[in-house]
């Protein structure tokens, strides 16, 4: 049987406000436990929330950035559950009236086509604290620093059909929220994490299969792996004649498997109701328009500019604008060398290859954009050829240093001295009488191919440093004179 995979994502984005969603405590990661809390965050009786206007602005900015409906009337609701990292006994969230309604996001697929993914809604809510289950005399430790940190939860339609689409969607979301500056997007610190709703159904069937919800995935790599192992698990169950249970599961990256969360943590009956401590949020068109006007260049706009202004292909432009840091890096390279196409080739080629091999993201690459720009300059002014350039790049990546110094130290300077090249060409011709004879005997149109042997010999003699264009021209001229 052939199966169709159906995936929807719920992405939690931590908003980069200075203070918390409902209190004047400092928001942010990494402080000593419980040093960033107020009576409101501790859920003390009588302590009342006051809403942070910057969180509202950020949510509206997100809505306008994905072309969604921004709701002029939205309401906070209480989501009731008991867990010690949420001392109030409820999470303040939004249910019936979220701040952001229907929108969409376009992602690029592997075959280079564009697919539109629906965004159902995005709502504001507060984060919970953290439970530390290490042994404190048989008790659990609670750190409430994260409590009431503002989150934007972005819910997608079940529009994705494989794990790669889910990753592309998550990356695009990451690019948007970091571009508009509403989050630092640091996934390792939990600033952006996602839950994936995964189900399968026989190809052609309209009715959705029973889904499992994979909780709290915090890296692009894990999204892909978690979805793939979950899909395999579901296929195995259904093909063995079993049934999928609707449940919440956790992805264990060490074992590369998903497993159910305890049923106790799952008894979901949240009894939502409008929060009596907070009044409805009312905003008007002028407010929304002002925020829309203030948006920076968005990833899709940047991609379009790379095509129209820098002459890149649509594909290169979309790859390079897929992350703000990558696009910034690329533009910094262009600024130094002034050649967008070569810069694009190097960033999507050699640089990406090294990033994959070494498993690093763009913000961790050891080669600076300035160095790469200088390296490209040395290719353009014929100081080095492309082979030498790759050697320089490798050294920049592995050992750092300055471009010109590396070229000198490794004797990579391309020999463009016509006299020196001519001498090498003459040597090769003199020492290869057999090949010269074959060349002479060959039909004229086949000679081009035979030139490769002589090219190789000259490049070898020059230790790769001869200017290939000059070698080629000289060889042709001299050989044709002999024949």
């Amino acid at each position: 049987m052939s199966w169709e995979i159906v995936i929807g994502l719920e992405i939690h984005v931590q908003l980069a406000t200075k203070s918390k969603l409902f209190s004047g405590a400092k928001a942010g990661f990494g402080a000593a436990p419980n040093t960033q809390t107020t009576l409101v965050d501790l859920g003390m009786p009588g302590a009342l929330p006051v809403f942070n206007q910057e969180a509202l602005r950020m949510a509206v900015a997100f809505g306008t950035a994905i072309d969604a409906e921004v709701c002029k009337h939205s309401v906070f609701a209480r989501k009731n559950y008991f867990y010690p990292d949420s001392p109030k006994g409820y999470q303040t969230s939004q249910m019936d009236h979220p701040i952001v309604g229907l929108g969409h996001l376009d992602i690029q697929l592997e075959d280079r086509s564009i697919k539109r993914i629906g965004v159902t809604r995005a709502h504001l809510e507060e984060d919970a604290g953290k439970s530390l289950h290490e042994d404190y005399d048989g008790m659990t430790g609670i750190d409430l620093n994260r409590s009431s940190t503002p989150l934007l939860e972005i819910v997608s339609e079940p529009d994705m059909r494989n794990a790669k689409e889910a990753v592309a969607y998550m990356r695009k979301m990451h690019a948007i929220v970091t571009t508009i500056g509403i989050s630092d997007g640091n996934m390792a610190e939990g600033s952006m994490r996602c839950d994936a709703n995964v189900s399968i159904r026989p190809k052609g069937q309209e009715k959705l299969g029973t889904r499992a919800e994979l909780k709290n995935i915090n890296s692009f790599k894990f999204i892909e792996r978690a979805i793939n192992v979950e899909v395999e698990r579901q296929i195995d169950i259904l093909e063995d004649g079993g049934k999928i249970v609707q449940e919440t599961r956790l992805y264990d990256s060490d074992k590369n498997e998903t497993r159910p969360m305890r049923s106790k943590e799952e008894a979901n009956d949240y009894r939502y109701f409008p929060c009596p401590d907070l009044l409805p949020i009312e905003i008007d068109d002028a407010y929304i328009d002002a925020i829309r006007q203030s948006l920076p260049e968005l990833p899709d706009q940047r991609s379009a500019r790379f095509v129209s202004q820098l002459g890149l292909s649509e594909y290169d432009a979309s790859v390079l604008s897929a992350s703000r840091t990558l696009a910034d890096y690329f533009e910094a390279v262009v600024l130094v060398c002034n050649d967008a196409k070569l810069s694009a080739n190097w960033v999507t080629g050699e640089l990406s290859k090294y990033m994959n091999q070494h498993n690093v993201e763009i913000d961790q690459v050891p080669v600076t954009a300035v160095h790469l720009g200088q390296l490209i300059n040395r290719i353009m002014d014929d100081t080095i050829n492309s082979k030498g350039a790759k050697a320089v790049f490798d050294e920049l990546w592995n050992q750092a240093g300055e471009v010109d110094a590396i070229i000198d130290a490794n004797g990579l300077k391309q020999v463009s001295d016509i006299g020196a090249i001519e001498a090498m060409v003459d040597d090769v011709i003199a020492s290869s009488p057999k090949q010269v004879q074959q060349y002479a005997d060959a039909e004229v149109e086949k000679r081009g191919k035979m030139l490769g042997f002589f090219m190789g010999q000259v490049m070898k003699a020059s230790k790769g440093s001869a200017n290939p264009g000059q070698v080629n021209g000289l060889l042709k001229k001299k050989l044709d004179l002999l024949c």
Binding site: K26, P33, T37, T38, L42, F51, Q53, D137, I142, L279
Partner: protein
């Protein structure tokens, strides 16, 4: 709408309230009578009436994004029943 004893027991568990067996019946009856009043109110024609999220004719006031509270951990910890290394200690959540 009438509530069964089983509904009361479930609500009590969700709300972490201890309700004795004898109280369950009373609660079932009194909450059911509140719900029947709701049923009566449902009969009122509310076409064209916007649902009310809050009885006050006011909208949410906004606060500037400023850190206005210093670290008061020592004061808060002083009234907590159990703490260690700056953490509040609670009965073990998972075993």
């Amino acid at each position: 709408m009438a509530l069964e004893n089983a509904d009361i027991e479930k609500i009590a568990v969700l709300a972490r309230l201890q309700v004795t067996h004898s109280e369950t019946n009373d609660y079932a009856n009194s909450i059911s009578s509140i719900l029947s009043l709701m049923d009566q109110m449902q009969l009122v024609n509310t076409d064209g009436v916007e649902p009310l999220s809050n009885p006050h004719d006011a909208t949410q006031r906004l606060r500037k994004d400023e850190v206005t509270c210093d670290n008061q951990r020592e004061a808060f910890i002083a009234i907590a029943p159990a703490t260690e290394d700056g953490l509040y200690l609670v009965p073990k959540v998972i075993d």
